[in-house]
């Protein structure tokens, strides 16, 4: 089962950790809204398949860096369509 986790909360929030604790190795993670600051948090080990909304990154003056793939809202739709399951944290 291909699972897409969407999280919109800053990595400081317990919910962010709750998302990662439910994350299986091959799952995908999409950072939206305040969650995109995770791309700049040094101590955080993000999963291999990690995406972030470009509009939210740009809003906060961030670039995706090496570990995160920047996508637009159409890309977000594609991810949700391809996933067997979407969990919105």
């Amino acid at each position: 089962m291909k699972t897409l986790h969407i999280v919109n909360k800053s990595p400081e929030q317990a919910r962010f950790g709750r998302c990662l604790a439910a994350f299986d190795r091959d799952d995908q993670l999409l950072l939206t809204e305040n969650a995109v600051i995770a791309a700049g948090v040094a101590s955080l080990e993000l999963p291999t398949h990690c995406f972030a909304l470009e509009a939210d990154l740009k809003a906060r003056g961030l670039t995706s860096g090496a570990s995160v793939v920047s996508i637009d809202y159409n890309g977000m739709v594609k991810l949700t369509v391809e996933a067997d399951r979407v969990i919105c944290w």
């Binding site: 919109n8 909360k9 809204e33 637009d72 977000m76 979407v86 919105c88």
Partner: protein
Amino acid sequence: MTSPTSLAFTLVITGAPYSSQAPQTALSFAQAVIAEGHSIDRVFLYGDGVHLASALSTPPSDETNWSLAWAEFLIEHGIPGVACIASALRRGVLNSEEQQRYERSAANLVTPYQLLGLGEWVESIASTSKTLYFHGEH
């Protein structure tokens, strides 16, 4: 209209405008759903999300009016908008029927939303429609 590989979505919005980013993210996503050739079965407002259905929201003129922007989008695409009646009544979002029933001084539900129960959401869960949630940041 839609291609054989097109999907139907249900969007549940639980974050309020001017308090969370949820209505904006959800609208950008909804526009992309249409642009990608998919469809939206229903938009369901729940919890604080019901404030999006307020006709009285009056942001400064240089800020987006999210209630208006969402209402226009729903009407343009003929998408049913539902505000959970239990969430809405507690938070002071009423249509004229509920206004009369509870003898309140005004109604403030924006067109085209309907006030209905959680059964509407259950229907989406039970259907083949893909359900996504747009929450506040807490």
